[in-house]
């Protein structure tokens, strides 16, 4: 396992008192990735009429799970991924279970390959993520085809995968900053 990049200056011999406020603060910071997925999912299910809203729901969820499972699994445990996936299933209209299943697969790959992912560079990690996003989108497409009993166009799935891969660098920049600041339980 890879040691998480914590903030050493806060691990001094004299720890602050674990008051209720401090505990709540730490809990909220630790739950920040899950809250991010849930809030984005609910917001993107509103009728704003923006192009690609539904695809963005998938993209944001997969990107968030991949980043936090690879970098700080404590903030994104498997049960939280499952809960976020359920919320996503309720507030989306794709084939039931597909996104939930793929979020768990993404979590499994990222958390088990943490060591390897920390050794390779960002671009290589991004490529692996791209392959996962593409496979997940095609899995969704296959389920839709199976349910409709017809061969539908794979273009919407490709668009979803492209959107997911495209937003990942910006999101990971946000998460790198968040991991040090607002989503860091050690700073509570």
């Amino acid at each position: 396992m890879v040691a998480e990049k914590s903030t050493p200056h806060l691990h001094s011999a004299v720890e602050p008192n674990p008051t209720l406020k401090r505990r709540l603060d730490a809990l909220v910071r630790a739950a920040m990735p899950s809250l991010f997925i849930i809030i984005c999912t609910v917001l993107l299910s509103a009728p704003f009429g923006l192009p690609g809203q539904e695809e963005l729901q998938f993209g944001l969820a997969v990107s968030t799970v991949w980043f936090w499972a690879a970098n700080r699994p404590r903030s994104m445990p498997a049960i939280a991924v499952f809960f976020c996936g359920l919320v996503l299933e309720i507030f989306s209209s794709g084939p039931p279970g597909a996104v939930l299943f793929w979020l768990l697969v993404t979590y499994g790959v990222a958390s088990n390959w943490r060591y390897g992912l920390s050794q390779i560079g960002f671009v290589a990690g991004w490529l692996i993520f791209a392959a996962l996003a593409l496979t997940g989108s095609f899995f969704e497409w296959a389920l839709v085809c199976l349910h409709a009993f017809a061969l539908l166009s794979p273009v919407p799935s490709l668009f979803q995968a492209a959107l997911t891969v495209g937003i990942y660098p910006s999101l990971s920049a946000l998460f790198v900053w968040g991991r040090r600041t607002f989503a860091n339980p050690d700073q509570a």
């Binding site: 509103a46 009728p47 704003f48 209209s93 039931p96 919407p156």
Partner: protein, 313 residues
């Protein structure tokens, strides 16, 4: 509470268990999709007021932008509106004359007036579409009488049909959805066709007669069949490529706001049972004395029935 070893085992086992649950949900979605859809509809019902509150600022911004755009170009906008008004006055006169003539003709033909459909107006609370579906959720309030199969229209034309019903919310499958099939009539060629959605904004025209190809620009209306009333405006024919006619919908499918759902009841044209295809009712078990002729019992035909039931001699 648990030992370290037990905790490690639990932490390793939880992901496979959750994946198995997810697979179960996938299978449930394939086998019993309506169960999942009803859960989604209940969630949308609960969040309908929140969705409305979320889009209010966006609506205000769009209204301000429209006003601002109009204010910066008042002179040209006025000229355009004057021209449009002139054209509309002409069409108003034509419409009044045609309505009067239509009334006279209906009177002379003793035309039976059609029943006025009941309708309910709702606001789109959520776009329920995705990469492979085109649907919207409408907030129609509590105590509505909307039924599955009712017809949804916006100010310009046909949008789709109601597929699922919730306490406050109904789901409308748009005409552009891949699962949508609407029987239509072409106004000029008078040919019937099926308008099939393909997840693009322009549904395709299928199954039109080969000697009556759709004409570019002709009007497309619904054909009265089953619960679908006839004569509802749908759109116009357009050829994306030779031999590939599509419908340009009158309704603005990209930006839906206020939608009316019409209940035409059972007014749709349903053909009576064809002769020869009427289901034969099973004769009840009756006591027939041996040797008695069937015509004496049924009143027509010929033939002798030895015994139809457990009669006593």
């Amino acid at each position: 509470m648990f030992s370290i070893h037990a905790r490690q085992v639990l932490s390793r086992a939880i992901l496979p268990v959750l994946i198995l649950l997810a697979v179960g949900l996938v299978l449930l979605g394939q086998v019993r999709r309506p169960v999942v859809e009803s859960v989604r509809l209940v969630a949308a019902d609960m969040l309908a007021p929140a969705y409305h509150a979320l889009v209010v600022p966006q609506e205000h911004v769009i209204a301000w932008m429209t006003d601002l755009r109009g204010a910066t170009d008042l002179a040209r906008e006025n000229a355009r509106l004057r021209d449009e008004n002139r054209g509309l006055r002409h069409w108003y006169d034509v419409a009044v004359a045609l309505a009067a003539e239509n009334g006279r003709l209906k009177n002379s033909l003793h035309w039976i007036p059609e029943a006025v459909p009941q309708y309910v107006t709702g606001r789109v609370t959520r776009d329920d579409g995705g990469p492979y579906s085109r649907a919207v959720l409408l907030d129609v309030g509590s105590g509505h009488q909307v039924r599955a199969g009712d017809v949804a229209l916006d100010a310009a034309g046909l949008l789709g049909r109601v597929t699922e019903i919730g306490p406050h919310t109904v789901r409308v499958l748009l005409i552009s959805d891949d699962a949508s099939r609407i029987p239509v009539t072409l106004a000029v060629s008078h040919a019937d066709a099926i308008m099939a959605g393909d997840d693009t904004v322009n549904p395709r025209l299928l199954f039109y007669p080969q000697d009556h190809h759709p004409v570019e620009g002709e009007r497309v209306e619904t054909r009265g069949q089953n619960e679908m009333p006839g004569g509802l405006p749908v759109g116009t024919v357009h050829y994306l490529a030779p031999g590939r006619p599509v419908v340009l919908p009158d309704a603005d499918l990209g930006r839906l706001d206020i939608v009316r759902v019409f209940d035409y009841g059972d007014e749709g044209a349903t053909a009576p049972d064809a002769p020869g295809r009427v289901r034969v009712k099973k004769l009840p078990d009756i006591a027939v004395p041996s040797g008695l002729h069937l015509p004496e019992l049924l009143g027509s035909g010929a033939g002798t029935v030895p015994a139809l039931g457990s009669g006593q001699e």
